[in-house]
């Protein structure tokens, strides 16, 4: 079998392996819903102001909430797999519509953050490792150490104070200027969104930038001590060729793996960053749902973000399998 065919099968296999995890997440979701005090009917009754016990019992029967737990679980599973995530009584909209509406801004933020953090992390780690124990290394290491310890929301707030309020370089919040509110793909609109994107992206990427920098530095140093580097040296290759061809590619492997592992944490971080910058994505929606105690919505966000992680991990796996020929594809 050719390498490409084996890789395709590997990707397919990873896809199938993700299915049980998705199923497990849905089930966890269901039980979280049940752990919460009160059900949808209580919420509805609360909304309406008053409701007779008879009416509430009738509603429960209508929603199937009087059924035994396993039956409810099956119904829930069926609903989820037919893309019915329930109804948000606050927004008076199906959860799915709400969540999908806010999905793209989050994806945009995620992708720009991953690119920035991984890209700069690799470059900084490389710079630090190649100038080991020089001022360059020390400076980068201190930078990584400090950013690694900084809470995201605080950096966001400080950025707003400095770059938005005092210097006025960037807008404080949101994704678009209200005045120019339309959805066309005009150049002005894209520039506007990009302008709004700068501060949230930098804020969210800082922590991960520090992480990848440290990882890349350590990984480069570890690989530089391997036997194959001695072989390369014995072949008479230049130090640059050894560093950038031999060591770099091997050193990238753990960084790429980590990039996949960290996607989940990144989405968690986006809740904070989006709520700081009022970026209209899933995180911001989660923050609103939290305040209005809209559990259905919160769980929908949780589910969708988990799916997003599964998808990004799959992409990372594919990238990884093209970098490392040893990956068990058979």
């Amino acid at each position: 079998m050719s390498r490409t065919a084996r890789r395709l099968r590997y990707v397919f296999k990873r896809l199938l392996q993700a299915l049980p995890i998705v199923l497990a997440i849905v089930i966890v979701n269901f039980f979280l819903l049940h752990m919460a005090e009160g059900d949808a009917v209580d919420v509805l009754a609360g909304e309406a102001g008053s409701a007779t016990p008879e009416y509430m019992a009738e509603l429960r029967a209508k929603f199937g909430l009087d059924q035994p737990l396993p039956v409810q679980l099956l119904v829930y599973l069926k609903n989820v797999f037919s893309f019915d995530l329930g109804y948000s009584f606050r927004h008076e909209m199906p959860v799915l519509d709400l969540v999908l509406d806010r999905f793209w801004p989050t994806l945009l933020l995620m992708v720009s953050t991953i690119l920035l953090a991984v890209g700069f992390g690799i470059v900084l780690g490389l710079l630090a490792a190649t100038g080991l124990n020089t001022w360059r290394d020390t400076l980068i290491s201190i930078f990584a150490l400090v950013t690694y310890a900084t809470p995201l929301f605080w950096v966001g707030l400080m950025f707003i104070v400095i770059f938005a309020l005092n210097l006025g370089w960037f807008p404080t919040s949101g994704m678009k200027n209200v005045a120019a509110f339309n959805d066309t793909w005009s150049w002005a609109n894209i520039k506007d969104v990009a302008h709004h994107l700068v501060l949230p992206t930098i804020t969210l990427s800082l922590f991960y930038l520090a992480l990848y920098t440290r990882l890349m530095r350590a990984s480069m140093l570890e690989q530089a001590g391997m036997d194959y580097v001695t072989t390369a040296r014995a072949k008479g290759l230049t130090e640059n060729r050894i560093m950038f061809v031999h060591v770099l590619r091997n050193a990238l492997l753990p960084v790429v793996t980590m990039a996949g592992v960290q996607v989940g944490a990144l989405i968690g971080g986006s809740v904070i960053v989006e709520s700081v910058f009022a970026w209209p994505g899933l995180g911001m929606l989660a923050f609103e749902a939290l305040f209005s105690r809209d559990l259905n919505l919160l769980l929908g966000i949780f589910l969708l973000s988990a799916l997003l992680v599964v998808a990004v991990n799959l992409v990372v796996d594919i990238i990884y399998s093209s970098l490392d020929p040893r990956i068990e594809v058979g």
């Binding site: 995890i21 310890a149 900084t150 809470p151 605080w154 104070v161 968690g268 966000i301 973000s305 988990a306």
Partner: protein, 276 residues
Amino acid sequence: MSFWRLFKRNRSAVLGLVILLLIVFMAATAHLFFPEDPFRLVGKSMSPPGENGFLLGSDSLGRDVASGIAHGAKTSLLIGLMATFVAVGFGTIMGGLAGYYGGRIDDLLMRVTEMFQTIPSFIFAILLVAIMKPSIESIVIAIAVVSWPAVARLVRGEFLSLKTREFVQACHTLGMSDIRIIMGEILPNCLSPIIVIGSLMVATAILIESGLAFLGLGDPNIMSWGFQIGAGRTLLRSAWWVCTFPGIAILITVLAINLVGEGLNDALNPRLRERT
């Protein structure tokens, strides 16, 4: 003691330890220097640092920022330590059993940790606290729930590699019981990485706690740094100090713990290699 000699070689780790001890001291003496309840309104609101008797200023309601930081230190350290303790304890037990016995337990654990790697852990923590209602216990549980899989994976890996070592096999040929092999032979040999991951986990737990509190999911009866920043964010334009100082407190604490953790790593791990 040779451990201290090795630890001392890493100067930034010693610096971290000194800072950490100062923060512990601040937390322990908060009620002496700031006997008032940090939630109490004690003076003129919106005082900049150094004015009206406020070292680090006051917020919109006239609460003392410095007092909040001192009392918040207690909250951060307490929650960080408790959550880590629970996570490390549970993770070690699960990882140890899975690594040692393999088979079904191991399969199950691996699937569970994979799931935890997939779900966004911070959102999961938010959900847990929101469902359980914010309190110290629920925050500790939520942080521990999202943190233990990392410990379990680490301990499982250590157990997997140690159980095939010849000295463990030798114990089997002597007829030693499983519990004695686990407790007496394997566990002592993977204490170092557990201590290191535990120390770094305290730092992460403090960051998660501050994030939760910032979003309004802190225990409403207890002062915390994240709460201070969350409450002060609306005053960004007029009173920068309300957000700034608690943030610096988090930064310094987490930095100090990370430095100590790295020092532990440097001091414990080469020795382990040298000895085995």
